[in-house]
Symmetry: C2
Subunit: 144 residues, 2 copies
DNA sequence: GATGACCGTCAGGTTCGTTGACTTCCCGAG
DNA sequence: CTCGGGAAGTCAACGAACCTGACGGTCATC
């Protein structure tokens, strides 16, 4: 009975943090923005832009999954795809001006959520949590 | 950049544990059983059965969500719904004989996953993880 | 130059969950 | 005693975040 709770708690905690981030963004005037989208914005290199595959790698998901998020962000004008001059197959995802503004806001929102989490947990437990998750996923990766 | 990783890691860790549980169950001869289903089986009171709403409450989800899982388990003969003698509205979810056998297997599978997790994390970190999650979700609940 | 690997894409699925809108039934207050 | 609020289970529709598989171009190398 104890362990399925762990799995569930992990999911619940994920949802909680994601929801908090969304609220934080809303309060800052960026409504209808989801955590996955904010996360993507933060992963695009501000200067040179970043390829889709690289974004997927950073986020630890498939390129198909990442493409959906890029699509959404592109429609809303936060990001645009430009052909990669060095590679005809590739496209580079870049932030628009609006996207850069959003990026700044996202960093603040993320910091706020992190600070709140850290406060309710205490610094020690917070660090412990991060460490445990790092370890868990790292060793999973190796076995895979 | 640091925090959105936390949220994502929580999700990834959830998927990992759920997948491990499924594999564990498969290896024990119970294929095509998902983590949510196993979790439900473990939450049904072995003697008296449990109402749908109560199951939903225990799992921290809506009764609609819980109903789906009960439906699946009922179709496969692990569980059945009987009218509650004390309340004409309610039905009691009970394990069938096959369901009880599955329950025992689930407990073992869960224990195996837990043991493996504990081993990769170390007892100290494992306990810390659980504690952190408890705290995180508990205080979330209060604010809600 | 053919061959295999790689980039982005399209199409379709899966898992776990949600909100909203009933119907049926319980219960307590007027 | 009825009658109105509320709770139990259900039906339907949807959402978020993923996945696998299959392709058409492009690169890079042999």
């Amino acid at each position: 009975m104890t362990e399925p709770q762990l799995g569930r708690q992990l999911l619940a905690a994920h949802r909680t943090l994601a929801a908090e981030l969304v609220v934080e963004l809303e309060e800052r005037g960026w409504p209808e923005l989801r955590a996955s989208q904010a996360s993507l914005v933060l992963n695009v290199d501000r200067r040179s832009g970043t390829r889709l595959t690289e974004l997927a790698r950073r986020a630890g998901v498939t390129k198909q999954a990442m493409m959906v998020v890029v699509d959404e962000l592109e429609v809303r004008g936060f990001v645009r795809r430009t052909p990669d001059p060095d590679d005809g197959r590739a496209k580079v995802v870049r932030l628009t001006a609006r996207g850069r503004t959003l990026g700044a806001e996202c960093r603040r929102a993320v910091a706020a959520v992190e600070a709140r989490t850290r406060r309710t947990l205490g610094g020690r437990r917070y660090e412990g949590l991060r460490e445990a998750l790092d370890l868990l996923l790292e060793t999973e990766e190796e076995t895979a």
